[in-house]
Amino acid sequence: MVKQQPNWSPYDNNGGSCVAIAGADYCVIAADTRMSSGYNILTRDYSKICKLHLIYQHQHNKQMSCPAMAQLLSNTLYYKRFFPYYAFNVLGGLDNEGKGCVFTYDAVGSYERVGYSSQGSGSTLIMPFLDNQLKSPSPLLLPAQDAVTPLSESEAVDLVKTCFASATERDIYTGDRLEIVVLNADGIRREYMELRKD
């Protein structure tokens, strides 16, 4: 019997990039809004950023902390270990002390807390730039050093805009519009910036 090749794959790569940066009292999360499949653009207005805390709040009667959500996402991904979700996630928020925290994931749920991260088709272009601008001491060093960036909130937002402007130039899957979400003690703020549409 000849081995059957599958006619249909459940997976599709929709492209796009996302970035998150943790600050002393804020967290910036940004993603482009282009959704593509192969060489086709499916839509230019797809939000890749979502709010996750409401279900937990109802069940546990307290605000969900970012580290708790990080573990929840890791388990959600790992339970599909043998039929993975094709998703490379970045989770951003504020921890119990109000400091920014960013968690970065692979497709099956391995995660770690970092000072900044990018995932997606543009990550190989964006990550080296962030390393150059934000290189924070490794959390593994002893004596421990703080991983959050010393940048101010507006500087971090400008940095993110620069990242995407550059990534859009060289990555065909990144572009259209940039959605930026800033979390801090005052709440959540959303901002948009136009990117190249070609």
Binding site: K3, P6, Y79, V108, G109, L140, L141
Partner: protein, 268 residues
């Protein structure tokens, strides 16, 4: 009298059977399986997405004062360094450590699961679990998933009533008791340094320095290892992190740039 052989059954309950004894926490979590005739091919293709971090150097050894556990912190996906700050030494509980090599998600998930099981054992039996017991629990779980594509090469190190304990456990179902192990792509280099410098009667500082050097030399020669060399010590009162040093800085500490050499090279 009919013997109870349920312990020998290795098939994993895929459809979520839960044990009341463990309060709903079943022996193994249930996993969705893709509906395909070619499971192995599917896993082989899916693994491209996961690209487990096989590049690593971890080591552990027993000596007079307990167990030293050390690891690098680089994670690579193919040729891309996905992270330089991965925690490869996992704190299972205050007196037991596990190391990570192979698939990062697999190691993280199953070590956390092992920590939960160890705690349940403590509560059910009013005493801590032995290193032998903990490593056996993990090995049995991994054996039941044998052939399904998990990638785990771990060492379980701890201190129990019988003294220091060290086991190597992998996803093929292997479990070995030993006094010196190194796992990962950088392990040949680490073994070279570790084996030549090892003495049973070392002080904690000497042993930590040996481990640090072994990890450093492995990161120097192995492209898939790097980042920060972490060293932990497990003693009778539990584990303690001794050091975390950037290997780039260790290089200049061990081999400082000599001004005279540079001068020679300019003149020649």
């Amino acid at each position: 009298m009919k013997l109870d052989t349920s312990g020998f059954e290795s098939t994993v309950p895929f459809f979520g059977t839960s044990s009341d004894l463990l309060g709903g926490l079943s022996a193994a979590p249930s996993f969705d399986i893709p509906a395909t005739t070619d499971f192995d091919g599917f896993q082989k293709d899916a693994i491209q997405m996961v690209k487990p971090a096989k590049g690593t150097t971890t080591l552990a050894f027993i000596f007079k004062e307990g167990v030293i556990v050390a690891a690098d912190s680089r994670a690579s996906m193919g040729g891309y360094i996905s992270s330089q700050s991965v925690k490869k030494i996992i704190e299972i509980n205050p007196y037991m450590l596990g190391t990570m090599a192979g698939g990062a998600a697999d190691c993280q998930f199953w070590h956390r699961n092992l920590g939960i099981k160890c705690r349940l054992h403590e509560l059910a039996n009013k005493r801590r679990i032995s290193v032998t017991g903990a490593s056996k629990l993990l090995a049995n779980i991994l054996y039941s998933y044998r052939g399904m594509g998990l990638s785990v090469g771990t060492m379980i190190a701890g201190w129990d009533e019988t003294g220091p304990g060290l086991y190597y456990v992998d996803s093929e179902g292997g479990r070995l008791k030993g006094t010196r192990f190194s796992v990962g792509s950088g392990s040949p280099y680490a073994y070279g340094v570790l084996d030549s410098g090892y003495k049973h009667d070392m002080s904690v500082e000497e042993a930590a320095e040996l481990a640090r050097r072994a990890i450093y030399h492995a990161t120097f020669r192995d492209g898939a290892s790097g980042g920060v060399a972490s060293v932990y010590h497990v003693g009778p009162n539990g584990w303690k992190k001794l050091s975390g040093d950037d290997v780039g800085e260790l290089h200049y500490k061990y081999y400082p740039a000599m001004p005279s050499t540079e001068q020679e090279m300019v003149e020649a």
